[in-house]
Every structure is written in structure tokens, then in C-alpha cells.
């Protein structure tokens, strides 16, 4: 390796470290500022809680054996609705791709459903499914499914025309065209729909928990509001922030693995 190459690599490495240091600095100073402002009484500790109160709340929750249960319940709901949303979205997109006539027929209805604020369906869902996990999953599904269908379907439509022509000249069957061309060439869009889907699913699950639940992070927030203990609310928000970041990162890792050669 030449000296210049070494210098270049060193520079890249240093740059990465600098970014991380700045990020840590931002978080730490934010937390300090928050704590300081609350302690000095500049902002209300009742409304905005404080980092130390959040830590205390987490400790209490762990002691009362609720902390991990709330996280587990929310994660479980997210996992179920996300998997369902993505798989159903994928299957429906495939059907629409294979049957273009059907796609044309239901296009306006998909658009309508996509723009409809799904929370408006909340009361209906609760009465139809009852105040249980089913309602929460259905709510999340309503929110993430349409987006998945539309994203994946557009990915399928974006298949390279030339390669499609090549497959036809090779006499490929519809099934071969799907499995060997259309689906693999949509990996990128499918992963993109994962990214959209995970954010939408979190919205749906928390919305669902606001409406019906007895456990979960959404419940923690609603409970905190009802008993005027805003420490719970803040704790819930922070937990959600961390969870969404981790889930998103997991998808990025998956993306890097799947799309290595593209």
C-alpha cells in the first residue's frame, strides 16, 4: 500500500470517528441542557419531566416487572403487523402485476384508501374486533399495507424493458419472468417498502394501543396522560425513539446484505 493510499484510508477513518464524536456530544449536551433547565425551574418538570426522572421511571417499571413486558408487547405487535403487511403487500402487488386489468379497476380505490386517515376507522375496528391485540394489528395493517402494495407494485412495473424483451425472446414462461426477473429486480424497491413499512407499522401500533390496549408503550403513554404522570409519557416517547432507530438500522443491515452487488 502506498503512503498516499494509507493517508486516504486514515482520513476516511478519522472522518467517521469525528461524526460519531459529534453525535455523542449532541446527545449528551441535549440531556444535560434538559436536566439543567428543569432543575433551574426554567421549564416545568411536571410537563417536560427530566432525564433523571425518566431513568427513575424506568427503574420503577423494571422493579414492578412491567418495563420489558411493555416493550415486548409493542415489539410483538410491530413484528406481526409488519410481517403481515409486507407479505400481503407483496402477494397483492404480484397479483396486480399479473392481472393488469384488475390493477386498472382497483386503482382509484387504492388511492382513496391510501389517502384516508385510517385513525377514522378506529371506532369501527374496536367494535368489530374487540378491545384486544387483533384491533391493534388490524389498525397497523390498514396503515402499512396500502403503502407496501403501491411501493412494491411500482417496483415490479419498473422492470427493465430490454431485459423483459430478452426473457420473452428466450421463451420464458410468466412464472420464470416473475421469479427470475421481476422479483429480483425489485429487491431495491422491496427493501425501500420495508423502510416505509416499519415507520408506518409503528404509527399504526401506537395508534392502536392508544385506542384499546392494556399493555405496551402506547398504553404507557396514554396511562401517563390519564394519571397526569408525564414521566411515563416521556419515557414512552424516548423508548419509541430508540426502538424505531434500532428497527430501521436492522433493515439497513439487511439491505446491505441483500443488495451487495447492485
Amino acid at each position: 500500500m502506498s503512503l498516499d493510499q494509507k493517508k486516504y484510508l486514515h482520513k476516511l477513518h478519522m472522518n467517521k470517528i469525528k461524526v460519531i464524536i459529534c453525535q455523542i456530544f449532541l446527545i449528551v449536551s441535549f440531556l444535560f441542557l434538559w436536566e439543567y433547565l428543569v432543575n433551574k425551574g426554567i421549564i416545568s418538570s411536571f410537563i417536560y419531566s427530566s432525564p433523571s426522572r425518566v431513568i427513575k421511571t424506568i427503574k420503577e417499571l423494571i422493579e414492578s416487572h412491567n418495563f420489558f413486558n411493555h416493550i415486548y408487547i409493542t415489539l410483538k405487535e410491530v413484528f406481526i403487523s409488519f410481517t403481515l403487511g409486507i407479505s400481503l403487500g407483496f402477494i397483492i402487488a404480484l397479483i396486480l402485476y399479473e392481472f393488469k386489468f384488475l390493477a386498472k379497476v382497483i386503482d382509484p380505490f387504492l388511492t382513496m384508501l391510501n389517502s384516508l386517515p385510517k385513525v377514522a376507522l378506529g371506532p369501527l375496528i374496536i367494535i368489530a374486533c374487540g378491545a384486544n391485540i387483533k384491533s391493534i394489528i388490524l389498525m397497523a395493517l390498514l396503515i402499512n399495507l396500502i403503502v407496501s402494495i403501491i411501493t412494491i407494485y411500482n417496483g415490479f412495473l419498473g422492470t427493465d424493458e430490454y431485459i423483459l424483451k430478452l426473457f420473452k425472446t428466450l421463451g420464458a414462461s410468466r412464472f420464470q419472468i416473475l421469479t427470475k426477473l421481476v422479483i429480483p429486480s425489485s429487491y431495491q424497491t422491496i427493501i425501500a417498502s420495508f423502510k416505509l413499512g416499519i415507520a408506518q407499522t409503528l404509527i399504526g401500533v401506537i395508534m392502536g394501543e392508544f385506542l384499546v390496549s392494556k399493555e405496551g408503550i402506547g398504553y404507557l403513554i396514554v396511562y401517563g396522560k390519564q394519571v397526569f404522570n408525564l414521566n411515563y409519557v416521556m419515557t414512552g416517547i424516548i423508548l419509541l425513539g430508540i426502538i424505531s432507530y434500532i428497527l430501521y438500522k436492522l433493515i439497513i443491515i439487511l439491505e446491505n446484505k441483500l443488495l451487495k452487488h447492485l
Partner: protein
């Protein structure tokens, strides 16, 4: 020699919302086995449409095509159409895979072609790591691997730079001659048409009809570089140029 393919009175109309367009009108010609034919014509005159009809991609036309039912036709496109998520080797055997003709014999032939084009060391690379010329060679291997009786080339070199274009068209010419393949080449490059083929069919603008058929009588049958030095090369060029020119005005 028998005719490999006979095209009788082919016509095709396109239907759009704004009306009907006559794309091709009464085109007839014959190809003998081992012959190389070029089709030239103004852009948008329906050259590619004609290839689509011959390769049975397009069934919606008038007229008749007479050919052996077992005739193996391979189609090579302007874009290399390589799948980015497959290695070069996997791309090269894609056609065989789809046609379910993967066996030791066909794979040996693919390996032979990789050696022939000096691409063996890149077998495990991915398309994005190869130059345009190399990618087009892989597309060529993918086409030849099917051992077609009739090779349809739809402007296969036009996306390449001049240097790669000459190198690869010479490569194609050599292998086609060596294996005595029958070829229909669609191009709008007159030099390419003259140096490559035994006969050049000049099409008029839409609705496209046969304007002229020119037999190219060169002694050299080995390399397009040598063929370009032949005595009547420029005369052929001028004849075709004039045929095209009259059409444009």
C-alpha cells in the same frame, strides 16, 4: 442451398388512440443458410418491428413466414440486458437455464466461448465491474450459448464507443463465419452493414417497404477490417447512401 427463412408479404399496422399507423408494407425476402443480411433504413422505419415478427415476439401482422418449426432463433438487443444481481457466468447461462438446456455439452460450449473471448477470469465478477465492450461480449456469449440457427442482431453495437464497436463487431463476424451461422443484422450504420454482410436490404421510411437489395461481393470472408479495404467498398457505401438519401427528402 435451401432457404432457411422465407418472408412473404409481411405488413403490420399499429393502432393507437390517435389513429392507425402503417409500419411495414409488403416486405418479402429470403435467407439462405449461412448468409448474413443487414437491414438498413431511416430511424423509426420499423426495422426492430420486423425482427420482433421474425422472432415470434409479435404475432399481430399480415403475411406469411415460412421456416422450419425447429428453427432455433436467438435475438441480441442493443442493450446488453445483463442482470446486475447475477455473476457474468450466471448471466451467460441464463438463456440455457430458461430453456432448460443446461447440460455438460452446453456448459462446455459456454466455457469454450469464455476462453475464446478472454473473459474466463471474470466469470465470478458482476456486470457493474465490466466495461461496456466486455458486457456486450457476455451478452453475445449468452446468445451463442443457445447454438441458434438464426441470429437476429438488433443494433447490438450502437451503445458502444467506436473502438469497442469495431472490435466486437469483428469478434461477432469471425465467430459467425466460423460457425456458419445465419444472421440478420439491423443497423443504421452503413459501414457496418457493408463490411458485415452478404446482402444489404434498404428500407424506405414509414410505411416501410424494400427500397433496394444490394449484393455485397467481397473476396475476404475473414475480417471486417480487411473487408473495409476492398475495392468496391466505397461504391457500395455510396449506393446505399443514395438509396437512403432519396427517402429522407
Amino acid at each position: 442451398m435451401n432457404n432457411l427463412l422465407e418472408i412473404n408479404n409481411i405488413s403490420k399496422n399499429y393502432h393507437t388512440k390517435n389513429g392507425e399507423i402503417e409500419a411495414i408494407k409488403n416486405i418479402s425476402f429470403k435467407i439462405k443458410k449461412g448468409e448474413i443480411i443487414s437491414i438498413v433504413g431511416p430511424s423509426g422505419c420499423g426495422k426492430s418491428t420486423l425482427l420482433s415478427i421474425i422472432s415470434e415476439l409479435d404475432h399481430d401482422y399480415f403475411g406469411k413466414i415460412i421456416k422450419d418449426n425447429n428453427l432455433k432463433i436467438a435475438y441480441m438487443l442493443q442493450s446488453d440486458a445483463l442482470l446486475p444481481w447475477l455473476t457474468i457466468y450466471e448471466n451467460a447461462i441464463l438463456g440455457l437455464k430458461i430453456k432448460k438446456r443446461l447440460d455438460n455439452e452446453t456448459l462446455d460450449y459456454v466455457n469454450y466461448l469464455f476462453d475464446f473471448y478472454n473473459l474466463s477470469e471474470f466469470k465470478e465478477s458482476y456486470p457493474k465491474n465490466l466495461s461496456g465492450g466486455m458486457r456486450q461480449r457476455v451478452a453475445l456469449i449468452r446468445t451463442l450459448a443457445l447454438k441458434p440457427d438464426l441470429l437476429l442482431l438488433d443494433e447490438p453495437f450502437s451503445a458502444l464507443d467506436q473502438q469497442s464497436r469495431l472490435l466486437i463487431s469483428d469478434d461477432v463476424y469471425k465467430i459467425v463465419k466460423k460457425e456458419k451461422k445465419t444472421v440478420i443484422l439491423v443497423t443504421h450504420n452503413i459501414e457496418e452493414a457493408v463490411s458485415f454482410s452478404d446482402r444489404v436490404i434498404v428500407l424506405s421510411k414509414r410505411p416501410s417497404q424494400i427500397k433496394n437489395i444490394i449484393n455485397i461481393n467481397f473476396t475476404n470472408q475473414e475480417s471486417i477490417y480487411e473487408r473495409r479495404k476492398e475495392k468496391y467498398y466505397h461504391q457500395y457505401f455510396d449506393t446505399i447512401w443514395k438509396d437512403l438519401d432519396i427517402n429522407e427528402s
